[in-house]
Amino acid sequence: MSDKAIHIALTFDDGFWAPAFATMRSIALSSERRADLNFHLLHKNLSAEHRAELDAIAEEFPGIRLHDYPLAEDRHFAAIKEGFVFKWRRLNDMVLARLIFDKLLPQTVTRLIYLDCDVMVRQPIEELWETDLQGKAVGGVIDPNRHKVMLGREFKEKADIFTYDQPYVNGGVLLIDLERWAKADLMGRTAAFREQGLLEKLYYDQDIINLVFAGELYPLDWRWNLTNALPAHEALEPFIIHYSGDRKPWSLIGGTAFFNNYRHVMTNEKYYAFMRFRWRRSLEKLFRRLTFRSARRPA
């Protein structure tokens, strides 16, 4: 990987193979530095068939590199997971992988863009990559829906954890100084939150990031992470559309910003393949329920 490399991490499981593809293709389409793009794919239970679909990115845009981190097969990841002795209902493998980016990615990666897989990028990603964090550890967009997440029901539940006016970023788009991320020891801090009796109130890794990096967050322009994106937002030329609400652009029914564009970014072939995949999965799930069978264990 060259010094000019741009590192982007995605974490997803087999159920998100096509949105992960769309996120990558949106970046590839809009970037002027395609040869510098490195996608770090931290995935779980990704079928060989779907993994092969992702290769279309490198075929269509030569120079782009995809790096795989199959979490279920990763001994290092398994050992870290094993060391995490307590249970937390929100600690799935995807969340854990994000907390330990610094341990999973090569040490040469010192800066990282993390993206959720329900985002579509419209602006050259290098502009985000080159943002000066001004000494802060993590860049993110202030989450307009933060208060309910931060403070809980009636804004009382978590009043001992967050304050109303505390800067709080959405975790779906992050620009990370990975050396600072490593030093912050997010796993250790998570264990400490458990000892303090706070863990069960926390909202996935987003709360942990906001707590650990309080005072070290760099607020990005809102256009780098437009959450709950609606058609009315289109005229404002957002840079990254984050389909964070219930309405997803891969559904047949629209109502989101750039609904039609999304299908063409995912490509029609993969859009409809993903639709058939979801339908088949739903039918299988229904069949299992009807026949009282347990979920099929992934191979």
Partner: protein
């Protein structure tokens, strides 16, 4: 100082054209200085009389250009294939330099599905910084430029190509004329390129690539939703199928639009469309 505004429309669009002019006059600082250049293929006498009310109410001038009688326009169209979307009225936009009186240096072109809320004098007096036109980036550009799966026309456009919406153009007459749009259009037609690009605004975008001045999105807000009202858009452009002259539209400022068009014109236009729609099956049956 006169403010020149050009509209191209046919008789079916007489009422929206009236609304464009009335909204421009209402929002203008000195509407008596406005000169509307109306390019059409002949208008019904009754419709033209309603348009004339603009002069009575605001003192603005209306100048008609009936293009069915225009030899230059007819000659330009001769042999030129018609795209379903590229009607001959669209070609009038490309020919503005040849059709307008020689003494006009600056003109504002407006589509007729527009509602003006800001003073057009600002655009008329705008410093174009040596550019031939000023316009607004089109938020829906990617699909228009690159087509299915964003893989078409990659030899013409790229994802980051700055592609404007051509529904509102601030035009420097001299530089616009120097671009030789009629000649470029003909050359695109002869090379087969014209058939590959879906919309007429692609012609303008190809000719003026990297040469236009981008304006704030509020000067041409496309697909206006009610949520946009608080952003105080200066010019709304009702692209898409939701139109403010429908009884139910769900667009921004739909109520203000009706009062700008005036209720008498709004309902007369509605009755005409209903009548046309009801008569259409009979006309088809009678083969007329």
């Amino acid at each position: 100082m006169p403010v020149h505004v050009a509209l191209t429309f046919d008789d079916n669009f007489w009422a929206p054209a009236y609304a464009v002019m009335r909204s421009a006059c209402l929002a203008g600082r000195k509407p008596a200085d406005f000169v509307f250049h109306l390019f059409h293929r002949g208008l019904g006498a009754e419709h033209r009389q309603v348009l004339g009310d603009i002069t009575k109410e605001f003192g603005a001038r209306l100048i008609d250009y009936n293009l069915t009688e225009n030899e230059r326009f007819t000659a330009f169209l001769a042999g030129l294939a018609f795209h379903k979307k590229l009607t001959n009225m669209v070609y009038a936009r490309l020919l503005l330099d040849e059709l307008l009186p020689a003494d006009i240096e600056r003109v504002i072109y407006l589509d007729c599905d527009i509602f003006v809320r800001g003073p057009l004098e600002i655009l008329a007096e705008l410093d174009l910084q040596g550019r031939p036109i000023a316009a607004v980036l089109d938020a829906g550009r990617h699909k228009q430029m690159l087509g299915r799966d964003f893989r078409q026309n990659l030899d013409l456009f790229s994802y980051n190509f700055a592609y404007f919406n051509a529904g509102m153009l601030v035009i420097d007459r001299e530089k616009f004329g120097a671009a030789d749009l009629p000649g470029e259009t003909r050359r695109m037609h002869e090379s087969g390129l014209l058939a590959r690009i879906q919309y007429d605004q692609a012609v303008l975008n190809l000719v003026f690539a990297d040469k236009w001045l981008p304006l704030d999105f509020r000067w041409n807000l496309i697909c206006p939703w009610p949520a946009h009202e608080a952003l105080e858009p200066l010019l709304l452009h009702y692209t898409g199928h939701r139109k403010p002259w429908n009884l139910v539209s769900g667009v921004a400022f739909s109520n203000a639009y009706r009062h700008t068009m005036t209720n008498a014109v709004f309902y007369k236009f509605w009755r005409e469309r209903m009548k046309r729609r009801l008569l259409a099956p009979f006309k088809t049956l009678l083969g007329r």
